[in-house]
Symmetry: none
Subunit: 422 residues, 2 copies
């Protein structure tokens, strides 16, 4: 079933309003096992004519959003009726709805209300509980347009999200469900820590396709690569086996969880806590952890020690280590992690120190250099703290550097928790 | 000048990824005095052929995003070259760029690298500072397509925003500016702290329009309202007078600076420092401040005290205050701010404590309740610390709550700095 989505609205083209309809409706269709083949955004006014003329011959379903309102550039209803050769007639039920809707707001029918109550013959009214403009559904017709055997199912929906969403759920979904003949396919997102979209594709593309999946896609985000597969349950399970074998413990989610959600979940499962000591990430690790509801169970103490004095006083980093090795060094990151562990009493502590740039780089420690440490408290009395350190180089602009660094640190903890819980 | 934007990416049509490129590029064109006439979104793969065939005859400029990557569904480059009848040739400079880019990441050239280094004859390479795939610019050509006198200016840009945005600014904008025949009008963004887009519109709409501006827009973001005006220099100046009179010291920028950029700039100008003590914002304030280059001059100490014990031990909050008034209370936020000031030696300290939710609300302190404090060190010996506190209620979901709270705290400091520097 080939689906076109047409969004009307000048504000969507000027960088003023983000087109959330395309996103939301894409997800809605996808849950039905359908997908939008093309999404088009046009300004208010006469462009809708050309957009419909292009879409009608190639589509089975067309959804148009916007252009049903009361102002002079709202002409979606009129143009659609004209192209399908359907005369408009006043609908007394729609007019009564508009009259009652306006009355509740102490307003009266006006000239535009009568326009909104015009319904093309043969179209079905989609009730609008939250506005005046009704939606419209045009069932397929034969022989109304040259070269088009049968026109597609056409839905005209209002632009405001609070009108569109309930109309979609109450009125459009039942019609679409009636058109479906097969069970929708499944989707799975596999998220791998690290970079290298190309590398992933090179290794996995062929074996994944051989499972008989319908679709395969990749998406790279800071410090992670997502592999998206769509297909039957059996094909998705086969993909899972391949991906787990290829990614090993770099695979951090097959359910679309964020890295910080995985870390908080694993900590909650284990009944353990983490503290953070951040120099170059400046609070981003703590911020990510506390974006997850329930973080307070596993995270109580965070240190943002941008200044050397803060590293000394709050975390017990030695002045001599700072002087001898510099703030971006292995001894300092180790002391930061162990200091945070000691001060907070947490079970784990993550520490990072690096050169975020743009200034501050040297030949030995160029911009992007970062040290990361994970300190782990011993489990039994007398067992010492063990600390793992890692040096990385992320030569990116500031926010990307912070994102990569926090991702790498969180992944260190995630893998440790995974090993302990295995 | 008629402009089409084509966004490729299956994830944009499945409800997985919001199409922010359409929004951002719409704004960019708009600042040049141009506007996108049509935006089209298509899946990865062969749909780009049909989309280009439709756009080429009707456009003066076409921008395509995505499909330049290394994987098998990235075919924008090949299809465009084919439609324009241009053979592909390996570009040694591009290959060298890819080789160097990969080498910095300890990776090597692979088969896909050679594909990315193929450049259509006659196309100009747009340098990609943040990725391997070069962008491409195809100047207009005559007689390559039936029925098309001259092909449009065609720009192929990479999909990842961190690659696309700098390429747009550094490479595409200069070319577009060269095509403009009239001076673009001026644009100014006035940013006001607080909420109330409708209220701002109601008060300012008429007087602003009376200045003779060409366009007026509003945009609401967490804790701020932006008024955007476009027009002649004289009209923009007149708008500035009106906006300053209406907003007073709630106006925090007329240059599109972020709140945290304003705060860091004012602190640097004053040669002063700030410390943060965060409970419910969990590091977001520190993270925002340290997103600004040069933050280390003005910010050295941040405390993320999610746990009560952390509030006591790091900030000296009294156990009795926590027991008597609860962690979300006026005495506690005051002690947090003063404790952070004392421990860090900073000139100012911001503290926040609140109920982020979803759990933890009570009748007296419902979810969304937050206390914010600003402690200010005395300027001369013996002058005491003065602390201002504020209670707010932001009944929003977690990340919005954190954004509003951090915005309000940063604005407290901004206004204080503004008064002191006035």
């Amino acid at each position: 079933m080939r689906i076109d989505l047409i969004n009307t609205g000048t504000e969507l083209l000027l960088g003023q309003t983000l087109n959330t309809h395309a996103h939301w409706l894409g997800g809605e269709f996808f849950q039905l096992g359908l997908r939008i083949q093309r999404q088009v955004c046009i300004p208010d006014g006469d462009e809708i004519r050309l957009a419909l003329l292009e879409s009608i011959p190639r589509s089975d379903v067309i959804v148009v959003t916007g252009g049903l309102g009361p102002t002079s550039d709202d002409i979606t209803r009129e143009i659609t009726a004209e192209l399908l050769g359907l005369p408009l007639e006043q609908d007394s039920l729609v007019l009564e709805h508009i009259r009652a809707y306006l009355a509740r707001r102490h307003r009266e029918l006006n000239a535009n209300s009568y326009r909104q109550a015009q319904v093309p013959c043969g179209a079905r009214v989609l009730a609008n509980r939250f506005g005046t403009a009704p939606g419209l559904y045009f069932p397929p017709q034969s022989g109304v347009m040259a070269g088009v055997g049968q026109t597609p199912h056409i839905f005209l929906l209002p632009g405001p999200p609070r009108e569109l969403k309930p109309m979609w759920t109450d009125e459009v979904l039942p019609i679409l469900r009636g058109l479906l003949t097969v069970e929708p396919p499944g989707l799975r997102n596999f998220k791998r820590f690290g970079v290298g979209e190309a590398q992933v594709a090179e290794t996995l593309e062929e074996p994944l396709r051989a499972t008989g999946i319908m679709e395969l896609g990749y998406c790279a985000r800071p410090g992670e690569v997502m592999v998206r597969v769509i297909g039957s349950a059996a094909a998705l399970d086969a993909c899972g086996v391949l991906v787990r074998a290829a990614f090993g413990d770099r695979l951090f989610s097959d359910t679309d969880e964020l890295m910080e959600q995985v870390v908080v979940r694993l900590l909650r499962q284990a009944g353990r806590t983490v503290a953070t000591a951040e120099s170059c990430t400046g609070g981003l690790m703590a911020n990510r952890l506390t974006n997850v509801a329930g973080a307070s169970e596993v995270f109580g103490w965070g240190f943002v020690t941008y200044a050397n004095q803060a590293k000394e006083r709050l975390l017990g980093v030695k002045a001599s280590d700072l002087a001898d090795h510099g703030a971006v060094s292995e001894p300092v990151v180790r002391a930061m992690a162990e200091g945070a562990l000691g001060a907070s009493g947490a079970d784990y502590a993550l520490a990072v120190t690096g050169v975020a740039g743009p200034g501050g780089g040297t030949a030995e420690k160029p911009v992007g250099t970062v040290w990361i440490a994970l300190a782990v408290r011993g489990r039994v009395a007398g067992e010492p703290v063990t600390t793992t350190v890692l040096r990385e180089h992320f030569p990116f602009e500031r926010e990307m550097f912070k994102a990569m660094t926090s991702q790498t640190a969180l992944d260190m903890l995630r893998r440790r928790l995974g090993q302990e819980q295995a």
